[in-house]
């Protein structure tokens, strides 16, 4: 008796639960049909947080534009864009976990890569395992792409495309530059670019009189800079992130270190570097993958570079830099590939990305066999009068190279 009485309500509740679950699943399916979910693992907290904010702003601007236009057109049906963010706390192993979680639990349709070369390389292994197309907005090192993964694509050219034009420019404009001192943050990207610089300097007949790495979180560079000063190089090349470069520049001024050419990568492209360094930013040269002064007429949702800059300024009341632009173009590229494929099928979208050959506000986009962009000509620029002035390529040149950093 007791059993019968108890079994009845259990059956009812089980059926109810099933019905509710079925309804929930149906609504999930229905909403999943209306949106395309993009996974974006970012270091929203921790030391890389400033970079995460830039990427997030780029993705958000693209998503906003895509949704304003009604969404992404997939075979005649419009899908809204939804970006799923996740904070991996500037911890590379966690970026791998987050990527896997997004693919398996969050059921995202496509993935953006985490910040920087190290995390992008680590996370790309997961994307490859699940055959998930991944666009990396901020990974430049060749080592990320030489795994020859099929599903990984990146919008940064290799590091030597930054250092080679820079060296050629210095060689042409500053003939008295014979000795170069290179100081690099002991971190994947800054060190890789410093090594490219060393190679490029040697190939152009310059003598590398100093090549040293400094540890992450170094608070003082005065002893190192005293040593560099004693070697009297005409070109001082420093790599690191904004904090490192501000610190080095201030301590160079403190020690009255002067040089014909001072190059810093990758801070001067950011407005906060120029604001924080003040007069000390003057004549610092640098190179990056994109600059707001570029003039491309693109086929992407943003159209021209000028339109992208305008939209960015309107939304964030600030000047965009290459990190913002790269994130936005990754979204725009996904949109074009999906629309061309006419499907959300990952393999079809992947194939469209692989054969892409298009001009965007970012520049011409074509990926090499390894997935890394090979069509872009990154600009060289210099801070003049508190503003970045493009020196190369000639097509977008805004001024001439000025010698002397005091």
């Amino acid at each position: 008796m007791f059993r019968l009485r108890s079994a009845f309500p259990t059956r009812i509740s089980a059926s109810l639960a099933l019905a509710v679950a079925g309804f929930a699943a149906a609504t999930t399916v229905a909403s999943a049909q209306d949106v395309i979910r993009f996974g974006a693992p970012l270091p929203i907290t921790g030391p890389l947080a400033p970079e995460a904010v830039k990427q997030q702003q780029g993705y958000d601007l693209w998503a906003e534009q895509a949704n304003k236009a009604g969404g992404i057109n997939v075979g005649g049906k419009k899908y809204k864009v939804e970006i799923v963010y996740s904070d991996y706390q500037s911890n590379t192993p966690r970026s791998v976990q987050t990527t896997e979680q997004m693919i398996t639990q969050e059921k995202v349709n496509f993935m953006f890569g985490p910040f920087g070369s190290g995390a992008a390389k680590a996370a790309s292994t997961i994307a490859e395992k699940y055959k998930m197309p991944m666009l990396a907005a901020t990974a430049s090192s060749v080592q990320v792409y030489d795994q020859n993964y099929k599903y990984l694509f990146g919008t940064f050219t290799p590091n030597d495309t930054l250092t080679t034009p820079l060296t050629k420019l210095v060689k042409a404009k500053a003939t008295d530059v014979k000795k170069v001192a290179i100081l690099a943050r002991n971190d994947l990207f800054p060190l890789a670019i410093a090594q490219e610089m060393e190679k490029s300097a040697k190939e152009n007949g310059l003598e590398v009189v100093y090549f040293e790495k400094y540890a992450i979180n170094t608070l003082d560079h005065s002893a190192t800079l005293s040593q560099i000063k004693s070697l009297a190089p005409q070109w001082i090349f420093v790599t690191g992130y904004t904090n490192d470069l501000l610190l080095v520049r201030k301590q160079m001024a403190d020690q009255q270190i002067k040089a014909g050419v001072v190059t810093m990568i990758a801070g001067p492209a950011y407005q906060e570097f120029i604001d924080s360094a003040g007069p000390n930013a003057e004549n610092i040269s640098s190179a990056s993958w994109w600059h707001p002064a570029e003039k491309y007429d693109g086929k992407d949702i943003f159209g021209s570079t000028a339109n992208f800059v305008k939209l960015f300024r309107d939304k964030y009341k600030a000047e965009p830099d290459y990190a913002h632009a790269s994130a936005a173009v990754c979204g725009a590229l996904f949109q074009m590939a999906i629309e061309k494929a006419g499907s959300l099928d990952r393999d079809k979208v992947r194939d469209e990305l692989a054969k892409m050959d298009v001009v965007t506000f970012w520049g011409p986009v074509k990926f090499g066999a390894n997935g890394q962009i090979n069509s872009l000509e990154p600009p060289v620029f210099q801070i003049q009068g508190g503003k970045p002035i493009v020196l190369f390529p000639d097509a977008i040149k805004q001024g001439d190279f000025k010698l002397g950093v005091n």
Binding site: E212, N217, Q227, S230, D254, S276
Partner: protein, 288 residues
Amino acid sequence: MLAIQVLINALVLGCLYACIAIGFSLVWGVLNVINLIHGSFIVLGAYLAWGAYNSLGLSPWYSLLIAAPAFFVFGYVLQRILLNRVITAPVLVTLTLTFGLDLILNNAMIYYFKADYRKLILNPPTGSISIFDVVVPIDRLIATGAALFLTFLLYLLLRRSKVGRAIVAVRLDRDAAVLMGVDVKSIYAVAFGLGAALAGCAGVLMALIFPISPLTSSAYLGKAFVVCVLGGLGSVSGALAGGLLLALVEGIGSVYLGPAHAVTLSFVLLIVFLIVRPQGLLGRKGFE
């Protein structure tokens, strides 16, 4: 000439390191609390100097006069309301509490100031003094002078004032101090307030030299920790000696072994001290 320059750099930097560490050492020495909020206090002090200079045109020297009492009150209240509740608990409990408080303060700073880097740029710039080829930046010299002055002031306070003697007494023997009529809870709060005030002032001075960001708090905390262990807890002069030793090792290490090894070298030194001389260079039982 390079050797003289490196030596002078190290002397100046050593005083700054001592300034970072002195408040941390005081709190650790007297309260037996490893204060993990110390780095964030320093960064907050730096923001105070930056904000006062940029929005009110206040020179950092005036900011020092604001920072000292403001941080003292902040530290005093924090100790009275929160830390006092766990002061007699095992060290892990106080460590966890200060870690939690640091997370709150640090994230609040990230929220309000963003994670971007800022720099206090004095106009006109202070410039540098050069004698032959040796150059010393004036802002560092001034910061060094201020750091030494603060250290001396603390030394005087602990040696000559009634409250200072009470702090030393509590450090030496808490129970005996109670029997002598010392209000231990107040003394703990005063010591913590003094530690916070010193951190705030150190922040104002650091703003003249280093870029400001909430993310730099861990670097300051790390330095304070190493300086305390090298110099020895319970000694004002120990913090100075520890700072100088650390700066010298880093400076010489970065010239002869490369800057990448300077930090490693300082941590090797830390381990050696912990094994061979755990009391540090000048460590004593009482804080004086």
